[in-house]
């Protein structure tokens, strides 16, 4: 756990639960030409960092190879309450996604049981093409639930 999260702060506790449970996040990154890029992603909270599996030839991977500053935000409530925004730095893991499975594969499978059913893939089949692991280290958390 990094110092970014204050465990005594109820807003942070709530944000942390959402970072563990929410299925969709929005990854904001910067294209090599300086324009912003936003993409919805599956993500996994792991050991104080956020893991995202990606295919190799995607815009977000190209962006992150160029610059690692990112945002990850979660959808708010319909009226705009319940905001969770993580600012952080992203790197691409040296290890392919499959190598991460011993430590978090079953938890990931459990989180995305429904999602994997929707895309009609097993986790193993997904990882055959989603080989890249983006690791986001949070630098700042912005959260309010009112």
């Amino acid at each position: 756990m990094t110092m970014v999260f204050n465990e005594a702060d109820p807003e942070h506790q709530h944000a942390l639960r959402r970072l563990q449970d929410d299925e969709i996040g929005w990854l904001g990154s910067v294209r090599p030409d300086g324009r912003p890029h936003t993409a919805p992603v599956w993500f996994f909270w792991h050991d104080g960092r956020i893991l995202i599996f990606s295919e190799e030839r995607t815009q977000k991977i190209r962006n992150l190879r160029h610059a690692g500053n990112v945002t990850l935000n979660l959808d708010s409530a319909d009226e705009g309450e319940d905001i969770v925004i993580v600012e952080g730095t992203a790197e691409i893991s040296d290890r392919p996604a499959m190598d991460w499975m011993p430590e978090m594969g079953e938890a990931y499978r459990a989180k995305y049981t429904n999602g994997l059913a929707i895309i009609g893939k097993t986790l193993e089949a997904m990882l055959a093409t989603y080989t890249q692991v983006i690791i986001i280290t949070p630098v700042k958390l912005i959260a309010w639930s009112r």
């Binding site: 904001g28 936003t38 999602g115």
Partner: protein, 144 residues
């Protein structure tokens, strides 16, 4: 250059419906140091553009003045359906919010009646506080 919506594409029709009725969008801009910034905003879909009323000195208005490139996205469903992402450019309007209300005030008040009530602000009070108008012109629609 405005985006066009394909009448035959259900995702485009969903996007259009959500642009007209969703209460919250996310605006992503670039800070002067090159880092991205994302923030939830109220918006009004008007004449092919998105209007965002803002206090005049915020991170997003500073960013837009320095770099017009922006992305707006709407909420998806919890399992990732109904994705709507707009790439585009943003500019601060020469007209302030009060000036825009003559054109869009009625539509804005209809859309955000509940939200304004929640803030305890009349439309005019909101316009005085959120006096800057960010005009986002989409150049590309990604919807699925």
């Amino acid at each position: 250059m405005a985006i066009t919506f394909d009448q035959q594409n259900p995702a485009h029709q969903t996007a259009l419906r959500k642009l007209e009725s969703d209460q919250i969008a996310w605006l992503t801009t670039i800070r002067s140091g090159g880092r991205p910034h994302s923030v939830p905003v109220w918006f009004l879909w008007h004449d092919g553009e998105l209007l965002v009323f803002s206090e005049s000195e915020t991170v997003k208005t500073r960013n837009v003045r320095g770099n017009a490139n922006a992305v707006m996205n709407l909420h998806a469903t919890p399992d990732g359906g109904e994705v709507v992402i707009l790439d585009g450019t943003a500019a601060i309007s020469d007209r302030d919010t009060a000036g825009w209300l003559a054109t869009v005030g009625e539509a804005y008040e209809r859309k955000y009646a509940g939200g304004l009530w929640g803030l305890g602000l009349t439309l005019e009070q909101m316009a005085a506080q959120y006096s800057a108008v960010i005009v986002f012109t989409p150049t590309k629609l990604s919807a699925w």
